[in-house]
């Protein structure tokens, strides 16, 4: 066996009470493309950030080419020949292509940067590896996403990379660009580079990876060869979790359609989406990062104005140009990033809850404090928000309780359609269950719920119906009980389409 390029053993990392990595291992050999897969929160990005020196590990060993590294800094790991192609394109927008490639490694004559040499070498590298004729004096800000990605990889190659870590490299690429990227990766593999490839797209993992490490709940649960094991097995390893009594049952009769959408299109995000949600129904929507799911929900809430298509509410066509109009029509949204959109952390619990329904609590321009107090106290009790009293500032509450405040805020204004965008992200299990209970209660009161989540298990267990969105289009609809998390993941990551394509 050859010397491994990267050896990470028994790596642990906790963030407060959350154990992001538990004795995780990752061993990558030169001349291989090594896939790293796992669901959201499985620890993929944490283990990579530990390797990159962005997070400090709590314990565990890291060896690069056999050399043990104690404390990792971004500069030190780069000196070892390990280069990271981050998901967000970390490039200086005002720099030229050549400057971005040679930053910190500038060819120079004495104290002067040798711009001629720099431009020449940049041109050569782009030609050699990517067969790309790109003027090295072009500004980064003028390049397309794909070309920026290429510049990042070229930068790593110019710095004599031995190990290349690509975090979701294809997320913003179109299929032609993906195949040319894969051609490059295969060439680099032949040059004996070790490549770590992180992707949500199972079809890509299948196509490009020699070996795959599967992460689940912060641990590596298997190292397999996709060609032998097959995608289905990998997906099952990713999702196989203990589904105990987390998901409360409910018994609801589903009524008339409340909200329906026909041929809704938002250019660049989603197209021709048609769906309906009925009273008492929980409709799940799931898709990969960037599939357009979030934009769909924010369009329903009036945060974006669709290019085409109509939204029908209670049989009447409506159009929202702002969230204010959506709220007036009885639509509520519980946003994912509660700090940014959901709660005013500097206000008290009571004030936050009252915020969405001040109209109902006030008259003659004054807030009726007695009504406010009564209503908010009732909700705090009902939702089990753990707070000393309603005057406590929201920022002093835990994440789960903050989320409950957001939910309470919208409950208090009695909407008819609830849009929930990842309501259980970053909250503990106990709070999750309480949020599920709330959702069930809303449904039983005849509300219509649209539930967006990338936690597939949660989607499968909670929803009456699930829609799968893939690269901006709805590609599947499943009734409750028709699908499990594994198959849903396969569908959402395009593996199913891949297989249909093969059999055809």
């Amino acid at each position: 066996m050859t010397q491994a390029a990267i050896e990470m053993h028994g790596v642990n990392k906790t963030f407060g009470p959350v154990r992001a990595l538990m004795d995780a291992n990752l061993v990558v050999h030169p001349g291989t493309i090594h896939g790293l897969v796992g669901q959201n929160g499985a620890g993929k990005s944490t283990i990579i950030k530990v390797l990159a020196g962005i997070y400090k590990r709590d314990s565990g060993t890291v060896r690069v080419h056999g050399q043990e590294l104690d404390a990792i800094t971004p500069a030190a790991i780069e000196a070892c020949g390990v280069h990271f192609i981050h998901q967000d394109r970390l490039l200086v927008p005002t720099a030229t292509v050549a400057e971005a490639i040679f930053l910190r490694n500038e060819p120079h004559i004495g104290p002067f940067i040798n711009y001629r040499q720099m431009n020449k070498r940049a041109t050569e590298l782009l030609k050699r590896y990517f067969d790309l004729d790109l003027d090295p004096r072009t500004l980064i800000s003028e390049l397309s996403t794909a070309k920026q990605k290429i510049v990042q990889i070229t930068r790593a190659l110019a710095n004599d990379a031995k190990v290349l870590v690509l975090d979701e490299p294809t997320a913003a690429l179109v299929s032609k660009e993906v195949s040319s990227l894969f051609a490059v990766l295969r060439r680099l593999k032949a040059d004996n580079l070790a490549i770590i490839f992180i992707s949500h797209y199972m079809s890509e993992i299948d196509e490009i990876c020699d070996v795959v490490t599967v992460l689940r709940n912060g641990s590596d649960v298997g190292v397999v060869t996709p060609a032998e094991a097959g995608i289905e097995a990998i997906v099952q390893m990713m999702t196989n979790r203990d589904t105990s009594e987390m998901y409360p049952r409910r018994d609801v009769t589903i009524g008339e359609p409340v909200l329906s959408v026909n041929g809704l299109t938002l250019a660049g995000h989603f197209r021709d989406v048609s769906l309906e949600v009925r009273a008492g129904e929980i409709l799940g929507i799931t898709g990969l990062l960037g599939s357009g799911d979030k934009e769909l929900v924010s369009t329903l809430f009036g945060q974006s104005v669709p290019d085409r298509g109509e939204i029908v509410l209670n049989g009447k066509p409506v159009s929202f140009r702002s969230p204010v109009q959506a709220v007036r029509h009885g639509i509520a949204k519980i946003p994912e990033d509660r700090r940014a959109h959901g709660v005013a952390t500097g206000l008290s619990v009571g004030e936050n809850i009252a915020l969405a329904s001040l109209d109902q609590m006030s008259g003659w321009g004054f807030v009726n404090t007695r009504t406010e107090a009564a209503k908010t106290e009732a909700l705090i009790k009902e939702l089990g928000i753990k707070t000393p009293d309603r005057h406590t500032m929201v920022k002093n509450l835990s994440g789960g309780n903050q989320q409950k405040v957001v939910v309470a805020k919208w409950l208090s204004c009695d909407s008819q359609v609830y849009l929930l965008d990842e309501p259980t992200v970053a909250v503990d299990v106990g709070a999750k269950v309480e949020i599920y209970n709330l959702m069930n209660r809303l449904a039983s009161e005849g509300k219509a719920l649209i539930f967006l989540s990338s936690d597939l298990e949660e989607i499968v267990e909670m929803c009456d119906r699930v829609l799968v969105i893939y690269r901006g289009a709805l590609i599947g609809e499943y009734q409750r009980g028709e699908i499990d998390a594994d198959r849903l993941l396969a569908a959402a990551s395009g593996a199913q389409m891949e297989q249909e394509g093969r059999s055809a």
Binding site: A75, E78, D88, T94, R104, F112, I113, S144, A172
Partner: protein
């Protein structure tokens, strides 16, 4: 793939129109500069005389050197002048340095010690800015405003709000010396400009400083210790304040109050400079041109007999226009 999302390609057209508007603004800036020079040459008597032209350069020297300090801060803390860093303290800092120099000279310490002390004072104030912005993470606008008040206050403590006259052979040379027909002051401007153009536009150090300002996270990911660069930028601005303070004292033969009033033209020059660069970023060459531009304006107004109070108004309008134009061009 059954669906293709056309987002990546759809953006390029907009970028082109963005480039076009950038080009228009840039050419417009050059045209405005040339137009104003031509107008003064025709309308203002004596504008083109060699004496007056040297005078413009000398008037612009102090403004330009201090604007270089701010330019370096702009480069290292964000080429987007609104969200990035700024150094509001530089003019007050120069006033403090001049006071330190003058007071020490009056006490008989001699040029060498006094100059070193003045420059060290400037750098300490710069360090304070760095501390406030980098270590304490106070927003630069507020942090340097506070430091500006510290510097201005210390200046008043030292001078008790009086004019402190200073004489020395060195000051004579700076104020009246000439070499190859060019005054010492103008030589300072030329030499420092050339050095800075090399350091910022042609050295690896400069490229890295631009990277830190252009995209902090990207620079960090490239292994650059970004905090040090921002610190260095503020300390350099302080250094420029120290150096320039000597020139200020030599020109006036005294340390006087009111140096802090130069802040507006300094900011105007540093901001206007971005319009002259291809990438719409602060550059030494751009700031140099902008400083001369503002010098020409002030000089021309004088010759035309327009009240100098108008100059301040025009500078304010320039700042507004430049910031509005650059952010408008970037929004595309």
């Amino acid at each position: 793939m059954t669906t293709t999302i056309d987002a990546p390609n759809g953006r390029e057209g907009q970028l082109n129109s963005g480039n076009l508007s950038k080009l228009a603004i840039r050419l417009g800036a050059f045209a405005a500069f040339a137009g104003i020079v031509i107008y003064f040459a025709i309308a203002a008597r004596g504008f083109t005389s060699p004496f007056n032209l040297t005078n413009i350069v000398e008037q612009s020297t102090i403004l330009g050197l201090l604007a270089f300090g701010v330019t370096v801060v702009f480069i290292g803390t964000g080429t987007d002048v609104q969200r990035g860093g700024i150094d509001l303290s530089i003019a007050a800092n120069a006033g403090l340095c001049a006071a330190v120099y003058a007071v020490l000279m009056r006490q008989g310490f001699g040029d060498a010690v006094s100059i070193v002390a003045a420059i060290a004072t400037g750098m300490i104030i710069g360090l304070l800015n760095g501390l406030a912005v980098v270590t304490l993470r106070i927003i630069p606008l507020l942090a340097t405003l506070a430091v500006m008040n510290i510097a201005a206050g210390l200046e008043l403590v030292l001078t008790e709000n009086t004019v402190i006259p200073v004489q020395s052979p060195l000051l004579q040379v700076i104020a009246f010396g000439r070499f190859l027909g060019i005054s010492t002051l103008a030589w300072c401007f030329i030499v420092i400009s050339v050095l800075l153009i090399w350091a910022l536009q042609y050295s690896p150090l400069g490229l890295r400083l631009y990277a830190v300002g252009g995209h902090h996270e990207a620079a960090r990911a490239a292994g650059i210790r970004t905090g040090r660069y921002v610190y260095a930028a503020y300390i350099f601005a302080g250094f420029m304040a120290g150096v320039t303070s000597i020139l200020i004292v030599s020109r006036l033969s005294a340390s006087t109050t009111g140096t802090g009033l130069m802040l507006l033209p300094i900011l105007a020059a540093a901001l206007l400079g971005t319009v002259f660069s291809r990438r719409f970023i602060p550059t030494i060459g751009g700031t140099l041109l902008a400083a001369l531009f503002i010098g020409v304006l002030a000089n021309g107004f004088q010759l035309l007999g327009i009240s100098s109070y108008w100059v301040a108004g025009v500078q304010g309008v320039l700042i507004l226009c430049v910031v509005a134009m650059t952010s408008f061009a970037k929004r595309d």
